[in-house]
């Protein structure tokens, strides 16, 4: 039987059309728009690098860029380290452990809108968090977590971390279960403490998972939007705004599509750096699988 040379392309057509129409074409269009003054109302006119000049001269742009990096610096290490302990916790062979795994995963499946609402209520002036901290004597009077410029972005970060914990816990759990038990048994016999075992056995053997989690959590921290939209609206005084929030506002509130596209291109370049590492890492893994 002779195979038709067109057959492979017939299989590829539906997917490629979707990816072409909704990723490749928009990407080229975004780059083009970033060199125009398009604002929906009037036709787009080429203005060269004007948008980029304006962007780099905008103090707010630098502020949101700084806050995005702050987000990365705090959220990524937290999401790389904390889920390791959660995974160790739920990797214990005790009755009902499946229930706990699922319970820790509940924030992952819940929509960010409801998560944001729940935490807004936790963060309320006379809410449960202030009460707990006060009763432990950690604070003297209630803190306005979400409405004070010094705390709002950190309060939102806590929610991002909290919602991501379960997801990365499961990734680590997969890694933990591939570590042979006899390594720990041998360490027990040698009298190594639990902490030493974690540091000298678990962490090194978990390295591939740690890499994946680092890359995934930094790419997603880069794009944080929903929790900010729901909980603080970027405020007070732009103190919790990140780059994506800035792009959203410029594009869909102010309708500065061209200008917002320039900010989008900046986001793209930064994400690209993380993604190139990602692809390299994945193709290395793939060749490992192939042997």
């Amino acid at each position: 039987m002779k195979s038709n040379p067109l057959t492979p392309f017939l299989f590829l057509i539906p997917g490629v059309i979707i990816l072409g129409a909704f990723i490749f074409y928009p990407m080229l269009n975004a780059i083009w728009l970033s060199f125009t003054d398009y604002n929906i109302v009037a036709d787009a006119e080429f203005i060269g690098l004007e948008n980029y000049k304006e962007l780099f001269a905008d103090a707010l742009f630098w502020k949101v860029l700084g806050q995005t990096l702050l987000y990365l610096i705090i959220v990524v290490p937290a999401l790389v380290i904390l889920p390791i302990f959660l995974a160790i916790l739920v990797n214990q062979q005790v009755k009902g452990i499946g229930f706990f795994r699922s319970a820790y995963y509940v924030p992952v499946v819940t929509s960010m809108v409801v998560v944001g609402i729940a935490w807004k209520w936790v963060y309320a002036d006379r809410g449960i968090l202030n009460y707990i901290l006060e009763s432990f004597g950690l604070i003297d009077e209630p803190i306005n977590w979400l409405t004070s410029t010094s705390t709002s972005i950190f309060a939102v970060m806590v929610v991002t971390i909290w919602k991501g914990l379960g997801y990365y816990m499961v990734i680590y759990l997969a890694g933990l279960q591939s570590i042979p038990d006899d390594l720990y048994e041998a360490a027990d016999i040698d009298g190594a403490t639990k902490w030493k075992q974690i540091w000298h056995i678990t962490v090194p053997l978990l390295m591939p998972s740690i890499m994946i989690v680092t890359i995934m959590s930094s790419i997603s921290a880069m794009k944080v939007f929903e929790e900010i939209y729901v909980m603080t609206g970027g405020g007070p005084l732009n103190s919790s705004k990140t780059l994506v929030f800035y792009i959203y506002e410029e594009a869909f509130d102010k309708l500065q599509m061209g200008y917002a596209s320039a900010a989008g291109v900046v986001l793209f370049v930064i994400t690209l750096i993380f993604s190139v590492i990602n692809i390299k890492f994945m193709s290395k893994k793939e060749s490992d699988i192939k042997g």
């Binding site: 392309f9 299989f11 997917g15 909704f22 916790l89 509940v106 209520w121 997969a174 939007f225």
Partner: protein
Amino acid sequence: MSSPSLGTSKENPTVLPSKRPINVKKIAKRALQYGTLLFVTLIMVGPFLWLLATSLKSGSENIFAYPPQFIPEKITFGNYVEVMEFFPFWRYLFNSVVVSVVTVLLNIVFCSLAAYPLARMNFRGKNIVFVLILSTMMVPFQLLMIPIYLLALDLGLQNTYAGLILPHATTAFGIFLMRQAFLTIPYELDESARMDGANAFQIWWRVLMPLVKPSLVTLAIFTFMMAWGDFLWPLIILNDTSMYTLPLGVNTLAGSFSANWRYIAAGSIISILPIIIIFAILQRHFIAGAMKGAVKG
């Protein structure tokens, strides 16, 4: 029966005293394990329980009491009944189900179709196509949302299901996942099916697809969670509230009743019930799928 037990009872008195402290230690260890597990559970589901408690408090109870009262004085479902008058829950649920289910089905079909030649055929340009597909993973949706929005307006997709679904109908992740799954299947199966006169499409559908079911489940769950929880794209493409999905509906509810926390709490709890129920039924698959997804890439 009696003789072996007699034999052991002889040893028991000497063994028991040394065994007791071990047992106490074991019990203490178990208590510590469960104590830690429960404490973390409280942190992970506490905010939802706090919301649930608030939704069950009657109008006469001060929900801003300080110190906060967790247990409602008198449990009432009144808030749920009342909020349903303003909150078209069933409409939003219907929209969410349509969008998520169709997105999942299209991804399963389109991703596995595209993955098949990439995994099991040789053709000119294969590597370029694969690299181009993978490269789409590097482009953040937040860069694309402006041109996709403009494109959707041109195509008349605003406020339509198609507008919500099509931009997510194929993902590079899905193609990658399915390609990996197809690569693991022995080639002899294709060969023997081809000898039996099956064409490429039949081999894909009848031979390969049944063998990659676990990966299809993983893909389905990933896509479902993405589509179900999506917020940014619906927020942009919809302005007709009757097309809203659950997250947007809850967001609107929170905005319009910003003073009535009982209603907001009740609406939020109703809105997460469907996904919590689905999760409770399929939790094994959710967690196994996420584990496999991580291992695969």
